[in-house]
C-alpha cells in the first residue's frame, strides 16, 4: 500500500509535467486545428534556458522559471508569426509538415549550438533538497514544488481563459473563426496569444522536468511531447480541463506500469491506451461526440 501511494505521488509529479505540455497542444489544436509538433521542442528550449540561467547566471529557481517562460513565450509567438501565419489558408497537412520542419529546426539547431551531450542541472539546495515525511511515505519537496507550480499555473490559465476579455476571444475563435472575426475579434492577435500561453506553460514544464530528472538533451522533448499529446487526446482535444486530467492520468498510469509490470513496456501501454480511447470514444474523456454533416 505504501509503495502504491509512493508510486501515485511520483505519477502526480510526472503527470503535472505532461499536463502543462498537453495544455499547449490542446489550446493550439482547439484554435487552429494544428498538431503543433514544435511544441515539445519549446519545452526542450525551456529546459535549456533554465539550465543556463541556473548554471551560468547563478540565479535562483523562481527567476529562472520566469526567464524560461518569457523566452518560450517569445519563441512560440515568433514561430507562429514566421512559420504558421503565412499558411493560414493552406491545407492542414501543409501546416503540419511545416510544424514538423520547425520541430526539426529547433532540435538540431539547439544541437548545433549546445552539442548533443546530456547536461545535468545543478544540485538543489536549501528547502528544495529536503524530504517531507508523511508516515512511511517520503515526498521530496521538489515534488511538492512541481505540483504547486503546476496548480498555480493552471488556476492562472483558467482565470485568463474564463474571466478575461482575451480569454473570451480565444473561446470564440476556437468555436467559429469566421463568426468571431465578424464580431470584431482580432483573430491573428488571439491566435498569437494562444501560442504565447501554451509556450509559457511548456517553458515552465521544461525547467520543472530539468530539476526533476536532472538531465536534459536536445531531443528530450520528442517522447514526452508525444505522450503529452496522447494526454490531450485522452482528455478530449481542445478542452482545457481535459488536458489537465489526461496529463495526470497518463502520468500515473505510466508510473504504475513501470512500477508493477515492466518499465520497458510503459510507452507501449500509453500508446495502447491512446488507440483504445480513440476507438471507443474518439472525442476523449470530456468531449462530446459530434456527427459530421454533409
Amino acid at each position: 500500500m505504501e509503495q502504491f501511494l509512493q508510486q501515485i505521488i511520483n505519477g502526480i509529479s510526472l503527470g503535472s509535467i505532461y499536463a502543462l505540455v498537453a495544455l499547449g497542444y490542446t489550446m493550439v489544436y482547439g484554435i487552429i486545428k494544428l498538431i503543433n509538433f514544435a511544441h515539445c521542442d519549446i519545452y526542450m528550449i525551456g529546459a535549456y534556458v533554465g539550465y543556463f540561467c541556473m548554471t551560468f547566471l547563478g540565479i535562483g529557481f523562481v527567476p529562472s522559471l520566469l526567464a524560461a517562460m518569457a523566452v518560450c513565450t517569445v519563441l512560440g509567438v515568433t514561430i507562429e508569426k514566421i512559420a504558421y501565419k503565412p499558411l493560414r489558408n493552406a491545407t492542414r497537412i501543409a501546416v503540419l509538415i511545416t510544424a514538423i520542419g520547425v520541430s526539426l529546426f529547433l532540435e538540431y539547431g539547439t544541437m548545433f549550438f549546445v552539442k548533443a551531450q546530456v547536461r545535468s542541472y545543478p544540485p538543489l539546495t536549501g528547502l528544495l533538497a529536503e524530504t517531507l515525511r508523511l508516515g512511511n511515505i517520503s515526498v521530496p519537496m521538489l515534488q511538492v514544488l512541481i505540483l504547486a507550480i503546476t496548480v498555480i499555473l493552471m488556476l492562472l490559465l483558467q482565470f485568463i481563459v474564463n474571466k478575461t476579455k482575451i480569454g473570451k476571444a480565444m473561446r470564440a475563435v476556437s468555436m467559429d473563426q469566421d463568426a468571431a472575426e465578424l464580431m470584431g475579434i482580432n483573430v491573428d492577435t488571439t491566435i498569437s496569444f494562444t501560442f504565447a500561453l501554451g509556450s509559457a506553460l511548456a517553458g515552465a514544464a521544461g525547467i520543472l522536468v530539468g530539476i526533476y530528472y536532472n538531465s536534459i538533451n536536445p531531443l528530450m522533448g520528442v517522447l514526452p511531447g508525444l505522450k503529452s499529446f496522447v494526454a490531450a487526446v485522452f482528455g478530449g482535444i481542445g478542452i482545457i480541463p481535459g488536458a489537465m486530467i489526461g496529463g495526470y492520468i497518463i502520468g500515473i498510469v505510466e508510473v504504475l506500469i513501470s512500477g508493477y509490470i515492466n518499465s520497458m513496456y510503459r510507452d507501449a501501454f500509453v500508446f495502447a491506451i491512446l488507440i483504445l480511447i480513440l476507438i471507443l470514444k474518439p472525442a476523449g474523456l470530456l468531449g462530446k461526440n459530434t456527427r459530421e454533416k454533409v
Binding site: 503565412p86 499558411l87 511545416t98 514538423i100 488507440i275 480513440l278
Partner: protein, 326 residues
C-alpha cells in the same frame, strides 16, 4: 479515330516500357563501369527504398486521404521478418521467402490495425497510426528473438541493383495500375468526399482497408530490401522520425502525384547525401528547406499533377527548339 487512339495508347505503353528498360540498363552499365561506386550505390539504394515507401504512403495519404504516420512500423515488420528468415535460410529462395513473408506480415498487421482505426478521421487516424508504429517498435525493442535495442546484425546481403529495380518499378506499376482501376477510383472518391462516396454505394471501409493493406505490403517490401542491403537493423531505425521522413516526401512531392513522390524521394536522398559533409548543420538545413518549400509551395512540387511522357516530350521539343535557335 478509334484505331488512332489505340495506336497512340500502344506507342505510349511501348515508350514507357522502353523508358523503364533504358533506366535499368543505363544505371546497370554505370555500375559495371564503376562510375557509380559503393558510396553512390548506398544513395541509389536509399532512393529506391524511399521511392517504394513514398509511393505506397501516397496511396494511403495522398489518394485515399487517410492520414497515416505509421509507415515506419510496417517497414520494420518487413525488415525484421525478412532478416529473421534469411538469417536461418541464407539462400536466394530464403531471401525471396523472407521478403514475401515480410510484406504479407506487414499487410496483415495493416489490415488488423486498419479495421478498427480507419473509422477515425484526419488527425485522429494520424495519431492512432503513430501510436501503433510506436507500439511495434517497442515490441521489437523488448523481444528476445529480435535482440532488443542492439538489433540484428549479419543479415545475409542479397539485394543489388536488379532486385532494387524490379521491386521499385514493380511497386510503382502496382500502385499506378491500382489507381487506374475502379478500386483506385473508389479510393480517390473517398478522399474527395467520404460521405458522398458512401452515398454513391462505395464500401468506404473496404477500400480504405484495401489501400492501407497495399501500402503496408509495399512498406514491408521496402523494409525487407533495407534489411538485406544494409545487413543491420535496430528498432531506432524505424522510429517516429522515419515515418515523418516518408510523409515529408509525399507532401513535398505533392499529395496525389505518384511521379511527385518519386521526384521528392530522389531529391531528398540527394540533398541528404550532399549535406553529409556538413553533418552538424545537415538537419538544420533540411528542416529550413522543408519550411521554406511549405510556405511558398504548400501543394508540393507537383501538386496533384503527374509527370507524363507527353509533358516530357513537350519540354523536350521546347528545349530542342531553343537549342536550334542558338
Amino acid at each position: 479515330m478509334k484505331k488512332l487512339a489505340e495506336t497512340m495508347r500502344n506507342t505510349k505503353s511501348w515508350s514507357k516500357l522502353l523508358l523503364l528498360v533504358l533506366t535499368y540498363a543505363i544505371i546497370h552499365l554505370l555500375i559495371i563501369f564503376g562510375i557509380i561506386q559503393d558510396f553512390q550505390q548506398i544513395t541509389l539504394t536509399t532512393i529506391c527504398i524511399n521511392i517504394i515507401l513514398a509511393v505506397s504512403l501516397n496511396l494511403i495519404t495522398g489518394f485515399t486521404g487517410q492520414f497515416s504516420l505509421g509507415h515506419a512500423g510496417f517497414m520494420s515488420i518487413g525488415a525484421y521478418t525478412c532478416a529473421l528468415i534469411t538469417m536461418r535460410m541464407p539462400t536466394i529462395p530464403g531471401f525471396i521467402l523472407g521478403l514475401v513473408a515480410g510484406a504479407v506480415a506487414a499487410a496483415i498487421v495493416g489490415i488488423l490495425v486498419g479495421l478498427p482505426t480507419l473509422r477515425l478521421r484526419g488527425d485522429y487516424l494520424a495519431i492512432a497510426t503513430l501510436g501503433m508504429s510506436e507500439i511495434i517498435r517497442i515490441v521489437f525493442l523488448n523481444l528476445n528473438i529480435t535482440n532488443g535495442a542492439a538489433g540484428l546484425s549479419g543479415i545475409p546481403q542479397f539485394v543489388n541493383w536488379p532486385w532494387l529495380f524490379v521491386f521499385t518499378a514493380g511497386t510503382i506499376l502496382l500502385i499506378v495500375n491500382f489507381l487506374k482501376s475502379s478500386h483506385g477510383r473508389a479510393c480517390i472518391s473517398i478522399r474527395e468526399d467520404e460521405i458522398a462516396a458512401e452515398a454513391m454505394g462505395i464500401n468506404t471501409t473496404k477500400y480504405k482497408v484495401t489501400a492501407f493493406a497495399i501500402g503496408a505490403f509495399c512498406a514491408g517490401i521496402a523494409g525487407a530490401l533495407y534489411a538485406s542491403y544494409f545487413f543491420f537493423i535496430k528498432p531506432t531505425t524505424f522510429n517516429f522520425q522515419k515515418s515523418v521522413d516518408v510523409l515529408v516526401m509525399v507532401v513535398l512531392g505533392g499529395m496525389g502525384s505518384v511521379s511527385g513522390s518519386v521526384l521528392a524521394a530522389i531529391l531528398l536522398a540527394l540533398i541528404s547525401t550532399f549535406l553529409q559533409s556538413f553533418s552538424e548543420l545537415r538537419m538544420v538545413i533540411y528542416s529550413l528547406i522543408l519550411i521554406i518549400i511549405m510556405i511558398f509551395r504548400p501543394q508540393g512540387l507537383m501538386g496533384s499533377k503527374e509527370l507524363s511522357l507527353s509533358m516530357l516530350s513537350k519540354l523536350g521539343s521546347k528545349f530542342s527548339f531553343r537549342k536550334g535557335r542558338v
